[in-house]
């Protein structure tokens, strides 16, 4: 097809050239074949050049069949013609990467220098040499004739031919009716001028004197019209037409350049046409340049406006409507940017993958969205997520390993595309994709810059959407957390007014009978508590506590209180903590702890029961000692009573003697009573009754209880007790039980071994700041390691032991806020002791 077109064009061009000869002249004023060949070489890539040149050869030969020139000459002339085309096309391609464009002064000047001047200049030497070597004409005449002819031809034919072939199609598709009419009018004007000039030149209508001498002058307004209105292509077409018509007019006129010789006339005409062609081409290019610049400016303005609208659109949209707005704007941007498809993807927080948010395709061109980007375009997605831009001008730009991407592009009919990561902070939050379906697209740097601006705005919008979603989720989570709390929660501002509550707050507050907590958002909690402070001590403490926490005086405040409900006592705990907020305030939590309290009370009762059992067991171990202790006074009582009876029988009893006996009986009776009293105390069953207890005195009493036992076992017991009372808060009986337990353990540890020192040393002394310590040290067999295990339940080293003594002792001491400890002595035996905090006043 290419070859056929070139051949036909060459043939027709030559015919036209032969037609445009001045009367009596061999050379043509205009010789189009060479210029057409040059045009073809400019239009097709160099690899097709041989085809073009070879295609022209048959046309050339057929033209010259009817001449009388030798065939070698004809062939050589063809070679020189080809040489000119090759030189011109190579030079222009060498200096310009857009050799078919005549839309800037720069490119037109480049064209004029290379194609119009240098090409003919150089090739004419060869041509003249060929002509002369065949002995036809003189060298310089040939050179001159050929040079000027080809300069004129190149100037007029090449821009017109190239322009028509590259621009006529698009122009015709987009031209309005008015433009068609204007083009037609322009052509009509050219023909009209020609008719007028032809008429004048034949001097049938001598209206304008001398018109026949310079017909070109009358074409000038029309050419200028074309230059101004139809760009370089229109101008060059008009110019070519005017040139052809001028030459035609000149050819028919015999006296145009009289009294010049035909040679001079030809030259004059050519120079005149060249002189007109060059400035008009440059002017057309300049105007085109201006027009393109202003249209670029207009496009830029439109784009800027789009950007500002785009930004505004996103600024005022609430997060939940963002989705729809994004959709709208993806379409509008796509329409304006003249791409075939625009896709917006958002990166999922969950999977980290890109998910389609919006897809626009130019109607009728693209209608299949890319829904699974990671499956279809794995390479592209990886690049995007790595925050790299992708610019694909054609499928071949994809790297070799992007096999799936290449396949998907073909399947979707995509030819080129741009993928831009959307970035917020330093994180890729999505991607904006632009695709073109029709042809390989050159994504110019300024276009890419615009796309980046668009991507930035979409990126910000998505980032904002993400932030708002995160905020909403966090709000929802917060209120879900508050709602899920079983405690009542109220948030107070700096003045003590409730600014937020959860759903349990008011129900719990009202049920607790602490009436100032039976309030809700907007109420002044602090004021309500202050109001109730007169009648309710709890309200007073609460208002003091809240004030202190809000003022920052106290780090927190806790109030435990109770009331009588339908099912018995209910227990509550109310806590106030500072609100960590710039404006200050406090958080109040209110929870029912009845169940916890019940468990605590049950545990306490169980402990008391256990302790009692342990006491019973312990006392059982003491029976022998107790019996002995009771026996002594009983023996004395019996003996004294019998003695008194005898004295009375003997009837010589002095009354004071009898009184002494009876006094002894009373004393011993009391003594026995005291023993029983102590025993009963230890066996007493009941809950703890806190009191102030002098630990020194308590140790002395308990030691008395086991003195007899120690005596029985031949164990010496030493007491080191402080002079001043060491007062602790606690339950006397339980603490006695602990001391008793330690003493009995010590006695049992000493056992029957007669070889050891058989000594128990009981010491009470004030220890660390505000505590008092009781130590029971024995010389017994010591405890097996690990010593700490002696406090474990059911751990016993005694054959008859229950293993509950020390665990119970520990639970009692810990319930009193103290600690208990045990260790083996370096010199044998063990020391077990405990520490209790001194009662508040005693500490001072």
């Amino acid at each position: 097809v290419l070859a056929l077109c070139v051949a036909v064009a060459y043939f027709l061009g030559a015919r036209l050239g032969l037609f445009l000869r001045l009367p009596g002249h061999t050379p043509s004023v205009l010789w189009p074949p060479n210029a057409l060949l040059t045009s073809a070489l400019l239009l097709v890539p160099p690899r097709h050049w041989p085809v073009c040149l070879l295609a022209a050869l048959p046309a050339h030969l057929s033209l010259n069949l009817d001449t009388e020139w030798p065939s070698a000459f004809v062939a050589t002339i063809f070679v020189t013609n080809c040489t000119e085309a090759l030189i011109s096309a190579s030079l222009l391609r060498g200096i310009s990467d857009r050799p078919t464009e005549f839309d800037s002064v720069h490119s037109v000047l480049g064209f004029v220098v290379t194609v119009a001047l240098l090409g003919p200049f150089l090739s004419s030497f060869l041509d003249a040499f060929v002509v002369v070597s065949f002995g036809l004409e003189s060298y310089w005449d040939v050179w001159r004739a050929r040079f000027f002819s080809n300069v004129l031809t190149s100037l007029t034919v090449v821009p017109a031919a190239v322009g028509l072939l590259t621009r006529a199609g698009p122009w015709m598709r987009h031209a309005t009716r008015a433009r068609w009419l204007e083009a037609a009018a322009l052509m009509a004007a050219l023909v009209g001028v020609w008719l007028l000039v032809s008429a004048w030149s034949s001097e049938r209508l001598p209206v304008i004197p001398g018109a026949a001498r310079a017909p070109l002058v009358f074409f000038l307004p029309v050419i200028t019209w074309a230059v101004v209105r139809f760009g370089p292509t229109g101008a060059s077409v008009a110019m070519l037409t005017a040139t052809v018509l001028t030459i035609a007019a000149a050819a028919r006129s015999t006296d145009m350049f009289l009294p010049l010789t035909p040679d001079r006339t030809l030259l004059g005409l050519q120079l005149l046409l060249i002189a007109v062609a060059i400035p008009h081409l440059v002017l057309a290019a300049a105007i085109e340049e201006r027009r393109q610049a202003s249209s670029a400016l207009a496009a830029r303005l439109r784009f800027e406006e789009l950007l500002s609208q785009l930004s505004q659109a996103f600024v005022h949209v609430p997060g939940e409507r963002m989705g729809g707005v994004l959709e709208t704007w993806v379409r509008r941007v796509g329409e304006q940017l003249n791409v075939d498809g625009l896709m917006l993807y958002r990166r999922s927080d969950h999977s980290g993958e890109l998910e389609l948010r919006s897809d626009w395709g130019r109607p009728g061109v693209r209608d299949e969205p890319i829904v699974r980007p990671h499956a279809d375009f794995p390479w592209v997605c990886d690049e995007i997520l790595a925050n790299r831009e992708i610019v694909i001008e054609g499928i071949d730009d994809l790297p070799a390993d992007a096999v799936q991407d290449r396949r998907s592009m073909e399947r979707h009919g995509l030819v080129s595309g741009v993928g831009l990561p959307l970035v917020a902070g330093d994180r890729v939050v999505g991607s904006l994709g632009f695709v073109s379906m029709a042809e390989r697209t050159h994504w110019a740097p300024d276009l890419l810059a615009r796309l980046r601006l668009v991507a930035e705005i979409f990126g910000n919008a998505i980032a904002r959407q993400r932030n708002e979603e995160a905020l909403r989720e966090s709000e929802a989570l917060k209120s879900a957390i508050l709602g899920s709390l079983t405690s009542g929660v109220a948030v107070l501002d700096r003045r003590g007014c409730i600014i937020a509550v959860n759903e349990h707050w008011r129900g719990l507050g009202c049920a607790s009978s602490l009436s100032c907590t039976c309030q809700t958002t907007g109420d002044d909690l602090l004021a309500a508590c202050q109001r109730d402070a007169e009648s309710d001590d709890r309200a007073k403490r609460m208002s003091d506590g809240i004030s202190a926490v809000i003022a920052g005086v106290a780090p927190h405040f806790v109030l435990q209180h109770s009331n009588t409900g339908d099912d018995g006592m209910r227990y509550w705990v109310l806590a106030v903590h500072p609100l960590h907020h710039a404006d200050g305030g406090a958080v109040v939590t209110h929870a029912e702890i009845t169940e916890r309290k019940r468990v605590e009370l049950e545990a306490e009762a169980a402990r008391a029961e256990l302790a009692h059992m342990a006491r019973v067991v312990t006392m059982g171990e003491l029976t022998a000692s107790l019996a002995h202790e009771l026996n002594q006074p009983l023996t004395a009582i019996v003996a004294n009573a019998q003695a008194a009876r005898r004295l009375l029988d003997l009837q010589k009893v002095p009354p004071e003697e009898l009184r002494a006996v009876l006094g002894d009986i009373v004393a011993d009776g009391r003594r026995a009573g005291a023993v029983i009293q102590r025993t009963r105390e230890m066996l007493h069953k009941g809950g703890p009754s806190p009191a102030r207890v002098d630990l020194g005195g308590l140790v002395r009493d308990v030691a008395a209880l086991v003195t007899n036992d120690a005596l029985l076992r031949n164990v010496t017991m030493q007491l080191s007790l402080p002079q001043a009372p060491a007062v602790v808060e606690g339950d006397r009986i339980q603490l006695q039980q602990v001391v008793l337990n330690l003493l009995i353990n010590a006695l049992e540890a000493i056992g029957d071994d007669p070889t050891n020192a058989r000594l128990i040393h009981v010491r009470a002394r004030s220890a660390e700041e505000g505590t008092v310590e009781v130590l029971v040290r024995d010389t017994g067999s010591g405890m097996p390691a690990p010593v700490a295990r002696v406090f474990d339940a059911f751990y016993t080293t005694k054959p008859s032991g229950m293993g509950m003594g020390l665990p119970i002792a520990r639970s009692i001491i810990e319930a009193h806020g103290g600690t208990i400890h045990a260790a083996n002595n370096p010199g044998g035996g063990a020391t077990v002791g405990f520490r209790l905090p001194l009662a508040a006043e005693a500490r001072a």
Binding site: A624, A627, H628, E629, N631, Q632, P633, L634, T635, A636, I637, V638, A639, N640, Q642, A643, R646, L647, L650, V661, D664, A667, D668, R671, L711, L712, N714
Partner: protein, 134 residues
Amino acid sequence: VIAGAPTVFIVDDDLSVRRSLARLLTTFGYATETFAGAREFLERGPAEGPGCLLLDVRMPEESGFELFERLKSTGRDLPVIFITGHGDIPMAVRAIKAGAVDFLVKPFDEDALINAVEQAVAQSRKPSSLRSRG
């Protein structure tokens, strides 16, 4: 107290017991001497004339048995009646085997006491060779 009456020596760490027993025995015509412990009794030196020793088994420092053994080993053959607050059979057997006249568990009746004391005093009147039962 009749002159030349047998003397009952009472060793017990409990003052009330000592005093009440002494008082009771006095009403039966015995002379009495009381001691709070073994050391005190030993310091008094050997007794002359008939009598017996009323000895508490359990005392701080030296127990009744220990004092008894010491008396036997030094040849002071005063008949001994043990008294105890928590007597059991093995202890009683041990006491009798060792040569005690009787073993009384507190609180005891005056008849039991007087019987034992009379028996012991009677024993003290016999020559020591006859009393010795090995």
